[in-house]
Amino acid sequence: MACFAAPLAEAVITTVLMKRFEKKEKMTDAPNESQAGIPWSRKLKWLNNLLWGGSALLALEHIWHGEIIPQFPFLTALKEPGGVLPMLGEIATVGVGMAAFVTLVWFFMIKIADARAKKAAVSGKTAETEPCI
């Protein structure tokens, strides 16, 4: 119905956070990437790509299935009588589940990337172990 609304809302929040971290890192002379791990702005950029990209493709699926319409109120569930509660229920269960699962995968991803960056700093290699995403 509108399950992508939850990851989309999270994407908006993480984009704002990413911009703040970018500003902060520019203002404070951020230490070498490999010494302090990967900067938070870059990590949040990965999460943003996951969430915005996923939400965009899911929105296409909803348009395809006629759940999103080009006129107000844009969601067919809002037009149908008694359709609002099931829609909110789906956002709260499936939508939140999607956002949580993507965030969990990202969390493990940044843990691995940080560990590799620190290992590379110790061994003195940076280019080989720090691919740019």
Binding site: P7, L50, L57, L58, E61, W64, V94, M98, I133
Partner: protein, 100 residues
Amino acid sequence: MYLIITALAAAVATAFWYKNRLNDKLHLGALCLMYWGAALMWLVDCVAAIIAGEEEIIDTSLNAALLGICSVALGLAIWLILLLIRSRRNKSQATSINSH
């Protein structure tokens, strides 16, 4: 079906990104993450369908396959637009540095 097609696209994009990971001028990482994001979300949708007891978990119809192809095409289109925006931004930054 669109979950399978998007996951396959994600795997292919990841393979290309891994090959060029040291010099990712095409920003393939963004494309990979976009596809993986959608694949993960559809996976959760699938699990929710299983829990709800739906009979047809993976839709293997032609319509679903077409949707999968369109999803991959949309991902590519977004990635191309991002590439264009980035190259324009880089060009304008280079010209402003040269003028100073």
